[in-house]
Amino acid sequence: MPLVLNEEQRLLRDTSREFLQRSAPVAALRALRDERNSLGYQADLWAEMAEMGWACVTLPEAYGGLDFGFLGLGCVLEETGRTLTASPLFASAVLGSNTILFAGTESQKEHYLPRIATGELTVALALDESHHHAPADTGCTAQCNDEHAVISGRKVFVADGHSAELLLVVAEDQYGLGIYAIPENTPGLLRERTVMVDSRNAANLTLNAVTVPLSQRLGGTEDCAAALEQALDRGRLALSAEMLGLVEEVFERTVAYLKEREQFGALIGSFQALQHRAAQLQAEIELCRSVVMQGLSAIDDAPEQVPLTASLAKARLNDLAEWATNEAVQMHGGIGVTDELEIGFFLKRARVSMQMLGDTAFHRDRYATLSGY
């Protein structure tokens, strides 16, 4: 399984980097925050990203995708992590589209996926109900008859939940775990955007007897639990790739500062106390890079390894993101805690990523369980 990028993947990484640094640097996120942008991302930027094919990198060709593989997608996501770019790429084109890919019937896939692939349709997965990721505990319910499903409950921390046109809502029903595709304006669906520390998009949903045709249930009358787990693991690995990019960027900026800031008549990077802390971070970054690449490659080549590596990746990246962003602030001194310096944006985004799709405790526990202890 490849742990190095091939020529095409490197090219994709380089072009993504160039595009994002130019069109969507951290300053763009700051602008969205400061103007309290209601969409939470730049619509024209998303159109350009979709134009370049980013929304369909991994989708099978049958649904309008490029079938380029997750290692390739990882290159793009890593770059969006470096620039903290807000867009529906993760929530819609990764988490949403893979949920439909695994859980949907053939006609549902044909109906939704090609439009997600072009960026024309955005979707969001509504799963969590409490303040910790716990996919096994769903309180939301759906009452089904032959024609309709009536869905009630509450969802929190739904990435892009306020802006997506289609919500994929997870609910217990008579068939097991159901996932319902609910259009944004369906009566009884209330969306409340939550203003989070990372200035990105999340929402809480309230579903008061939301009624949809049973045909909106993904997979007909199949239990969707296994499909959901597969989609979540892809999401976890994709998010880990984004977090790797975030860490690399914040670390590079920190190392650059160590070579620039003088105190006691010396560059602070010459102090061994700081050197060793930076070197330890470098070592952990090397491990995390291997873990992320292996996980993404496993999606492409060895699906049986995905659950374990997804938990490995998310756990390690959670810890690294916390560590690297804290060190970044500390090593910048006073300027590190100002809003003017962009380091704070990395710190804040890291905390949201760390909670999304499972914190370290969740994934350590899952890793142990999958390992048989």
Binding site: H276, A279, Q282, E286, L287, R289, S290, Q294, A368, Y373
Partner: protein
């Protein structure tokens, strides 16, 4: 499938078949210290099967698979050598021959030695006729190796060596020692160092063992009192020994980095120990949640380290430069310490036995290895020195 992966698969099958036929069953189990064969004039085989296994591997050239055939190797490439290693690991095959000659001096001689040095020493290493010691550290020169003082005075056809070396592993059982000696006191301290091969049986060489916290006396202090060393035993140029030493250090670091994931001395793993010494609930979960977390953390660390070793290899094959190899010694040896501490916690008081029949051999071995694990982050460039190297070579941070 690409051409190269098809040939690699064919080679793997060949290796698998050969090992199946030639590796005795008794040699397919984890080895404890007493099972290791180090060769040399004073070395003996731990068992008849160990002899058979070593001789077959030697005749096949797989004791040093990457060395040229004329020196006892099989002239294989890195990928093939790796396949042999992987296949041996798969069936738990023991390492047939241990030694610093094989791991460290050999590769350095291939790069820096002249033809007669290679002819004299390489086949003797593969044939297990000579066991080598490493003479780098001195009482006053550890991490700051270049400040070494052991002197070699030039005479017509020989050097006269005076001084001492410390921490020389197993020097009392070795036939030869490769040494860094001072041949000049002018200029930078790195520039007056030469690399000498010294016969331990020469008049004036003596050793004193040093007892360690593990109870073993693996180390010696080695003394040189007017030892005459023929001029042809100089490797590389006079006063240019530092480059040889640095090249050799790369092999040493790599070796030590792989200790955790590729241990020649396989003992019980924390996961196996947990099965044996901890309780599980009805769902199969360990009831001690704190140790369960620590075990998962350790397993994840080793998983990540294993993947990074693979990535290093793939990057080398693909000619991609990356910082990864430079962080592995630090990570691997630190993980080895974590593992030993975790094993003691899992075993509780059963992990604390020093000797006697109240404890199993495995338990006693675990404790001794715990003590030895402390040495791994000191030897071969301490963890602090590794971090200095990363800061300097990877991060390019300013030096004082």
């Amino acid at each position: 499938m690409t051409h190269s992966s098809a040939t690699a698969d064919a080679f793997r099958q060949e290796v698998r078949d050969w090992l199946e036929e030639n590796c005795p069953q008794s040699q397919r189990q984890p080895a404890v210290a007493a099972d290791q064969f180090w060769g040399g004039r004073s070395g003996s085989f731990p068992s008849e099967d160990a002899r058979l296994w070593y001789e077959r591997m030697r005749d096949k050239g797989w004791v040093a698979p990457e060395w040229p055939r004329e020196y006892g190797g099989a002239a294989l490439d890195a990928q093939q050598a790796r396949i042999i290693k992987q296949e041996m690991k798969r069936i738990n095959a023991r390492t047939p021959l241990y030694g610093l000659g094989l791991w460290m001096l050999g590769p350095a001689l291939l790069e820096y030695g002249n033809t007669s040095q290679k002819e004299q020493h390489l086949p003797a290493i593969v044939k297990a006729e000579t066991r080598w010691a490493q003479g780098y550290s001195e009482p006053g020169a550890g991490s700051d190796l270049a400040s070494l003082q052991c002197r070699a005075e030039e005479h017509d056809d020989h050097f006269l060596v005076n001084g001492s070396k410390i921490w020389t592993t197993a020097a009392d059982r070795c036939d030869w020692i490769f040494c860094l000696v001072r041949t000049s006191t002018e200029g930078k301290k790195q520039e007056g160092i030469s690399f000498l091969l010294i016969d331990m049986h020469s008049p004036g060489v003596s050793t004193t063992p040093i007892e360690l916290i593990s109870g073993e006396s693996e180390f010696c202090q080695t003394f040189f009192d007017n030892v005459k060393v023929p001029r042809e035993n100089l490797v590389g140029e006079l006063n240019k020994g530092w480059s040889v030493a640095k090249a050799l250090l790369v092999h040493e670091r790599k070796l030590m980095a792989e200790i955790g994931s590729d241990s020649p001395r396989k003992v019980v793993s924390p996961r196996e120990a947990a099965e044996q010494y901890l309780q599980k609930d009805d769902t199969g979960k360990l009831t001690n949640t704190e140790l369960r977390s620590q075990l998962a953390d350790y397993d994840m660390q080793m998983h990540a380290i294993g993947l990074t070793h693979m990535r290093c290899f793939e990057e080398r094959q693909a000619g991609v430069r990356s910082p990864a190899p430079l962080v592995m010694k630090y990570l691997g040896t630190e993980a080895e310490k974590t593992k030993s501490e975790l094993l003691l916690k899992i075993m509780g008081s059963r992990g604390l036995g020093w000797e006697g029949d109240s404890f199993t051999d495995e338990e006693l071995d675990t404790l001794r290895l715990w003590a030895m694990s402390k040495a791994m982050t000191i030897a071969g460039g301490s963890s602090e020195i590794q971090l200095n190297v990363i800061a300097k070579s990877v991060l390019e941070l300013p030096q004082e």
